[in-house]
């Protein structure tokens, strides 16, 4: 049977349905792996040992009783700590929510439970999902399992690192400007941002309401597709949820064909500022897809470059409002309530103590952009850039079926390297942001290692709204072709982590 933590979700499901292993055994193996590696990696903020084992046991009992279970029942998963899980500590990577246990499950979490998926625990993230490196977590950074001195990406670095450290075969992330795709790229794993509205935001601690999208993360394309199917679909508790059938992502992942697919390479996403190793792997992947039957052309999206500044106006504006609820009155941290200070003062002291530097910075920025007198100049203008980017996409999709680019300009940078330069940090999101602004589906798939540093490079695919299956078609085709070259998925080339103790 081999090491259970090296299996894909599909393989684990097969072991369970054929009776060779139970969920309890599989879950325990992953909990052991976490215990052995997480001091070094710090992917998890909370490991729900008892809860996970209880879930696993329950699944095994139901299977033994002859119940028909879903395709991922009993498979363990790491959950980004930005989604509410009832009675389990949920912090969004912030001190202001330290110890908070939500009284309700996010819809997405309820669907995971209903599918019998075992939630191992909550993963680390940049505070309130603001960041591209997980260095903004109030609980310390997560380290990239490929090189522990490097960032695992952000804001969902914990989820992608848990996959790359073999701590879980599945993970959930959320993507507002690239927070699933960029960590996926720098850790050699698959990260998908579904169409905005394709996955429910009810229970997702909001950053930028018009951009936030929960999505599946895994080491293989098919695993991600299966998870995508579990979590996606209409939710009446979320007004922005799309009331249409989930796109046929699993079917596309299984078929993995790009025959006749028209691929557009975005001219503006490449060149200066992009690491040569990243560009090399990207071009090779494009050539590979051509050999597999795709038709590749170059496409210009002239307004994409304005996506970054527009994003850094829209996001802080919405976030400054979304984060106002953290005020020490109903939940979370309360500082300074000595019986003398007023509610207003306690709010201000609590938010000062509970929010980190990046969060404060963005709240200030957003408050400024929405201020009377400034709205038209900043927020109002940024919303127009959104229209322009949508039009770029629409125009492009008249000629091609998907757009592609590198996922990030560089491979994983060093922990501490960019933390003091916010603008430099923001530029990580160049390639990923346009899809968030337009609401399109997008994903990052591993496409190799950069020559300079041996670190993973991500291949970024963008598809029109509700055409998520095209992502999986490209991803699966690429994965199969590259697996031939590598003898397996990219993760099999990762260096072994030192395991603690025993």
């Amino acid at each position: 049977m081999g090491d259970l933590t090296r299996k894909t979700a599909v393989e684990l499901a097969e072991l369970m349905s054929s009776g060779q292993a139970g969920s309890a055994e599989i879950t325990q193996a992953h909990l052991d792996r976490i215990a052995a590696t997480d001091e070094a990696v710090h992917a998890f903020l909370y490991v729900d040992t008892d809860g996970a084992l209880a879930q696993a046991k329950a699944i095994d009992e139901r299977r033994a009783a002859g119940e028909q279970l879903g395709p991922l029942a009993g498979v363990p998963l790491a959950l980004k700590d930005v989604l509410t899980q009832k009675d389990v500590p949920t912090t969004a990577g912030s001190k202001i929510l330290e110890g908070w246990k939500p009284p309700y499950d996010a819809t997405l979490v309820a669907r995971l439970k209903a599918a019998g998926i075992v939630i191992l625990g909550k993963t680390n993230m940049d505070e309130f999902a603001m960041g591209s490196s997980t260095e903004n977590s109030a609980y310390g950074p997560t380290r990239n399992p490929w090189d522990l001195t490097k960032i695992p990406g952000g804001s969902g670095g914990g989820s992608s690192a848990s996959l790359a450290a073999w701590q879980a075969p599945l993970a959930i992330g959320t993507d507002t400007g690239g927070s699933i795709r960029q960590p996926g790229a720098v850790t050699g794993t698959v990260g998908v941002k579904p169409t905005y509205g394709g996955t429910s935001r009810y229970g997702l601690i909001a950053l930028a309401s018009s951009l936030d999208t929960p999505g599946p993360c895994a080491r293989t394309v098919l695993d991600a597709a299966l998870l995508h199917e579990v979590i996606a679909g209409h939710d009446p508790l979320d007004s922005t949820s799309i009331d249409q059938p989930v796109p046929p992502v699993v079917e596309a992942a299984r078929r993995g064909s790009v025959e006749g697919l028209r691929i557009g390479v975005v001219k503006e996403l490449g060149g200066e500022g992009y690491q040569s190793g990243v560009e090399a792997r990207f071009r090779e992947a494009v050539e590979l897809l051509t050999k597999l039957g795709a038709e590749v052309t170059e496409v210009s999206c002239p307004h994409f470059q304005y996506g970054l500044p527009a994003y850094y106006l829209i996001l802080p504006s919405e976030a400054s409002s979304n984060l106002a609820k953290f005020d020490a009155m109903r939940f979370g941290l309360r500082v300074g309530d000595d019986g003398e200070l007023s509610a207003e003062e306690v709010m201000a002291k609590t938010r000062e103590a509970g929010f980190g530097a990046e969060v404060k910075r963005r709240i200030m920025l957003g408050t400024y952009a929405l201020s009377s007198g400034y709205y038209d100049a900043y927020y109002g203008q940024a919303q127009k850039v959104r229209t322009l980017i949508q039009r770029d996409f629409e125009k492009a999709y008249e000629q091609v079926d998907v757009l592609v680019s590198p996922s990030t300009p560089t491979t994983a940078f060093g922990i501490g390297e960019r933390i003091d330069d916010p603008l430099a940090m923001y530029k990580n999101d160049l390639c990923t942001i346009p899809s968030n602004l337009a609401g399109n589906a997008a994903a990052s798939f591993p496409c190799g290692l950069a020559d300079e540093d041996g670190l993973p490079v991500g291949f970024h695919v963008m598809a029109p709204v509700m055409k998520d299956e095209r992502l999986y078609a490209v991803g699966a085709a690429l994965e199969a072709a590259l697996a031939e070259q590598w003898g397996g998925v990219l993760m099999t080339k990762a260096p072994e982590l030192e395991v603690a103790g025993r």
Binding site: P102, P103, A206, K325, L370, S372
Partner: protein, 498 residues
């Protein structure tokens, strides 16, 4: 410390008031504006809350379709245009009773706008233009603990109940109301009263000002008579009854006039009306105008009510107030002057409901505008708040019609009803108000009166019919007025004609 005031007539000689009235209506939907929590009044604290109306992290709003429907119907009833496309907006400010520290409201895209309505005061019709009507959510309620009066001042802490957070509200805003100064206060009162009746007729709210389901904020500024430039306005809150509307407007006119006349400037501020002392005082703690940083609510999608749907809703509206008034007046046969009195007293609907129970319009008017209006005035209350309903008025009049009571006794029954002494029957019994209609008793009394007054009998037999009155009077005196005077006359005439 009471602010100086100038008397109202002097004030109105020098200044013209300009008013703006903002009325908030709590809708009577089953669930809240953006979540499925129940809306029943008076529940135990924090038993009608969920992640959404508590503003917990991760929660999201979903619009209540019935609230939108009510909003559109209110807009139509106020002759507004209904937006073809509009959005919600976030109004951002921090306050402990506001769970998200922003209120979901509508900013520059209200669901209804550019309407008008009319009110009648002393027989004159005044048109009031409506700026807008929009949807928003209500806040929680705070108990301030430790201070002397239960208000914020001096409190050591507060206790917050979020049951009412998220209750659907419609805010109706007038354009500046410019009417003759001496009518301003009455027009303001009439407007709120008319709105109340309209909303009740629409069935969208129970519009109980004393319970807070209808709230009025009065904006007022003064300008020197004949001037065109508007003065600085104040906003007065805590105006909790129709009477308060009138009194608060009058007071603010006199207060602002005093300020201006002494060479001062009116401060733009929010003020608080005190019903007990009859003054407004400045609100606390507002140093600068708030910057609400409005932006379109990203968690809710735009609204685009189809014109077909709007017309369907228009067909569900009750008859417009002016049409109704004309129809009722014609049906009742009242003169214009009589109808004016009815409207002024706020008795139109009460009379209508009484008539619907079988009372004649004249009788209904007599009681509502007579006995009951007097009682209301004495109590400093509105007719609605007396605690006497159309059913009781109809019941009392029926007793009169049946001969169980006469007018004088009926008035005493009403006195008992106003004092809450029970049902008409209970009051009659307890106070011994029943009319004697027992013929034998009456007959015997008549015989006694005839026997005791031979000279009167002489006069009657001599042809002085009016002298009958003295015999009737004697019988009535014996029964302390509780005899059916008409029957007594009949008996007297019968006995003397033989």
């Amino acid at each position: 410390m009471t602010a100086a005031v100038v008397d109202i007539d002097t004030a109105l000689e020098q200044y013209d008031p300009v008013m703006g009235l903002e009325v908030h209506v709590e809708l009577n939907t089953n669930s809240k504006m953006f979540c499925g929590c129940p809306t029943t009044f008076g529940a135990e604290p924090n038993t009608q809350v969920c992640p959404t109306c508590l503003g917990l992290p991760g929660s999201l709003p979903v619009l209540n379709a019935a609230a939108l429907e009510s909003a559109i119907r209110i807009g139509l009833a106020l002759n507004c245009e209904i937006a073809e496309w509009c959005r919600f907006a976030r109004k951002n400010y921090f306050y402990p009773d506001m769970p998200k520290n922003y209120q979901i409201s509508q900013y520059d895209e209200p669901i209804a706008y550019n309407g008008w309505t009319e009110v009648v005061v002393d027989g004159e019709t005044y048109r009031i233009d409506i700026e807008r009507a929009h949807m928003e959510e209500d806040t929680g309620k705070s108990l301030h603990v430790g201070g002397a009066t239960g208000r914020i001042h001096g409190a050591s802490h507060s206790l917050v109940d979020y049951n009412r957070a998220g209750i659907p509200l419609i805010e109706i805003v007038t354009k500046p109301i410019v009417v003759p100064g001496d009518k301003a206060a009455a027009v303001a009162k009439a407007y709120v009263g008319m709105l109340r009746d309209l909303l009740r007729a629409l069935g969208v709210s129970d519009v109980r000002m004393e319970q807070g389901s209808l709230r009025c904020d009065a904006n007022l500024s003064l300008k020197p008579r004949g001037a065109s430039e508007l003065g600085t306005r104040t906003e007065t809150k805590n105006v909790n009854s129709l009477r308060s509307v009138e009194r608060a407007v009058t007071y603010e006119i006199t207060r602002q006039a005093a300020v201006l006349s002494s060479g001062g400037r009116v401060t733009q501020e929010t003020r608080h009306w005190h019903e007990d002392t009859g003054i407004t005082t400045p609100g606390r703690g507002k140093e600068q105008a708030e910057d609400y940083r409005y932006f379109p609510e990203p968690d809710l999608l735009p609204l685009a009510p189809s014109r077909e749907w709007v017309e369907e809703l228009r067909a569900t509206l009750p008859e417009p107030p002016a049409t109704r008034r004309t129809r009722l007046q014609a049906g009742w046969g009242f003169t214009d002057l009589e109808m004016r009195d009815v409207v002024n007293a706020g008795a139109q609907e009460l009379i209508e409901q009484t008539v619907a129970l079988g009372t004649s319009p004249a009788a209904a008017k007599k009681w509502w505008l007579g006995e009951l209006a007097r009682a209301a005035n004495d109590a400093g209350a509105e007719l609605d708040d007396l605690g006497v309903g159309p059913e009781q008025v109809a019941a009392v009049q029926k007793l009169v019609d049946d001969g169980a009571l006469n007018d004088k006794l009926a008035r005493q029954v009403f006195d008992g009803l106003v004092n809450g002494e029970g049902t008409p029957e209970q009051i009659i019994s307890a106070r011994g108000l029943a009319l004697v209609s027992d013929d034998t008793a009456l007959s015997e009394a008549v015989d006694r009166a005839i026997a005791a007054n031979p000279d009167v009998v002489e006069k009657i037999r001599a042809g002085k019919g009016a002298a009958v009155g003295a015999l009737i009077g004697a019988v009535m005196k014996e029964f302390r007025g509780q005899a059916d005077a008409a029957r007594v006359r009949e008996l007297v005439e019968d006995k003397l004609s033989s």
